[in-house]
Each structure stands twice: as structure tokens, then as C-alpha cells.
């Protein structure tokens, strides 16, 4: 394996998000209330998404945010609230001066970051991957690198996945139906 030298910026963020992921995972396992646990798990997934981007898997990072943090965790939270397992006080807005101040500051910082990036005349250049996939990456782009094997070698598995999803939909509907639904 090649010995690579990573810039400090890269190494710092790699370890930073790693520590955040582990800390959030620990907080997730130790929380008593399901709502708090689910939100800590979302935090873990966001940090993992950052790790994916640092590992040259940008498309997987986006999918992590969309599918895991966006879709799956929303379903979890939905079920927690449907079954009324969380306590109303936990879901309420942040109270007190300090939580609100911190939230506002973080929001302004993120907005400023986006504004700076979009307004600066410098075209944002994403780091070109250095790893094994660098050549393919340059040729086909971030998504093409994944799409080529997915739709060539693994086409059968991809098609079978649709059957799996169909079975899951049918199973969820059957399990979620009330036993005496047609009696009413």
C-alpha cells in the first residue's frame, strides 16, 4: 500500500469528525428518552457522512444524509411520537437564554460560510481524490465511478433489490394493519 501524506487540514477534520461520531454514539446509547437518542444518532450519521466525503466517497456521503439521516431517522422519530414514547417536554423548543444564543450563533456562522463560498469569485474546487479511484474519478466523476459497476457487474443484484423493497412495502402494510379492520 502506498504511504500517503495528508495535509493537516485533512487530518484535523478526519479526527474531529471521528471523535464527534464516537461521542454522539456514546450519548445515543446512554440516553433514556428515545427522542434524545434518535437525535444523537442523527448527529453520528452526519459525522459519518463527513468521514465519507473525506474518504473520497462524496456520493455516498450525500446518500448518507438523504437516506439515513433524512429518511430512516425521520421514520424512527415518527414511530416514537406515534407511540407517544417521548415526553412532551423534551420535544419543546430550546428554553433559556444560552441555548437560544448558541443556536442563533451557529445558524449565523453556517449562513456566513455558505455566503462566503458562493460570493467569492474563486471557483470552489473539491479535492481530487488521491486513492485508488483517482483515475476513474477524473474520467467519470463521483457518481459515474459508482454507477458503472452498479449497472454492469451488479445489475442483477440491483434489480433484485427492487423485489426486496416491494416485499418490505407489502410486509409493512400487512404488519401495520389492524386485525379487526374489516370487521368495522
Amino acid at each position: 500500500m502506498m504511504i500517503e501524506h495528508f495535509p493537516l487540514f485533512y487530518t484535523f477534520h478526519f479526527y474531529f469528525f471521528g471523535v464527534v461520531a464516537i461521542a454522539s454514539a456514546l450519548a445515543f446509547v446512554t440516553r433514556k428518552s428515545p427522542v434524545a437518542a434518535a437525535l444523537w444518532l442523527v448527529n453520528t450519521m452526519f459525522s459519518l457522512s463527513a468521514e465519507y466525503v473525506l474518504l473520497d466517497a462524496q456520493f455516498i456521503g450525500v446518500m448518507q444524509v438523504l437516506v439515513y439521516a433524512g429518511a430512516i431517522m425521520v421514520v424512527f422519530l415518527f414511530v416514537i411520537m406515534l407511540l407517544n414514547l417521548g415526553h412532551p417536554s423534551e420535544i419543546a423548543d430550546a428554553r433559556g437564554k444560552w441555548p437560544v444564543m448558541v443556536a442563533v450563533l451557529i445558524g449565523i456562522a453556517l449562513l456566513a460560510e455558505v455566503m462566503t463560498i458562493s460570493r467569492s469569485g474563486v471557483a470552489v474546487r473539491f479535492a481530487v481524490p488521491q486513492g485508488y479511484n483517482a483515475e476513474q474519478f477524473g474520467k467519470y466523476g463521483a457518481i459515474g465511478t459508482i454507477a458503472r459497476p452498479l449497472f454492469n457487474e451488479y445489475l442483477l443484484a440491483f434489480e433484485l433489490t427492487s423485489v426486496l423493497l416491494l416485499v418490505a412495502i407489502a410486509g409493512a402494510v400487512v404488519l401495520g394493519r389492524r386485525r379487526n379492520a374489516d370487521a368495522r
Binding site: A37, A71, F76, L83, Y132, N133, I146, A168, G176
Partner: protein, 97 residues
């Protein structure tokens, strides 16, 4: 960064396993399974950086299975809750030998 990624993945997987074994809330146990799947995904991505993009294809499959599993599992949890008015696994011992 391969060794560090694998270490992070191992730690997350262990946290997930401990959660499954220790917690009694069915929904939290289920979320621990998702955490374990995430740890496996991290391993795939870390290796794909050094051995080709196939690992990322597998991550896509794992995500699909996780989504299907979440839908079915949560439906089961809702059915159990309807039956028992609880998702505490201490109360659900029908299959215990």
C-alpha cells in the same frame, strides 16, 4: 487513514452491539442495529478508497436493505405496541423457552 477508519468503525460497531445487549427499549435496540450497519458502511468506504469503487456499490445495497428493514421492523414494533401497550422487551417474552 485506513487504520484510523477501521478503528472508528470497530468502535462504533462495538457501541452498537453493547446497545443491543444492554438496552431494553425495542426502538433503541433497533437504532443500535442501524448504528452497526453504519459502522459496516464505513469499513466498505474506507476499503473502497484503496481497492476500487466496488465497496461503494455495496454501501448502496446496505442502505437499501437498511431502509427496507426499518420499514418492516417499525411495523413489527407498532404491532407489538398495539398488543402489549409497551415496547419494553422485558415484557415481551412469549418466545422465551
Amino acid at each position: 487513514m485506513l487504520a484510523e477508519s477501521l478503528a472508528l468503525s470497530a468502535v462504533l460497531f462495538t457501541i452498537g452491539v453493547v446497545g443491543v445487549l444492554v438496552r431494553r427499549n425495542a426502538i433503541i435496540i433497533f437504532m443500535c442495529v442501524e448504528l452497526m450497519l453504519n459502522a459496516v458502511n464505513l469499513t466498505f468506504v474506507a476499503f473502497s478508497r484503496y481497492y476500487g469503487a466496488t465497496g461503494q456499490v455495496f454501501v448502496i445495497f446496505v442502505m437499501t436493505v437498511a431502509a427496507a428493514e426499518a420499514a418492516v421492523g417499525l411495523a413489527i414494533i407498532i404491532a407489538i405496541f398495539r398488543h402489549r401497550q409497551s415496547v419494553n422487551l422485558q415484557n415481551i417474552n412469549l418466545l422465551k423457552g
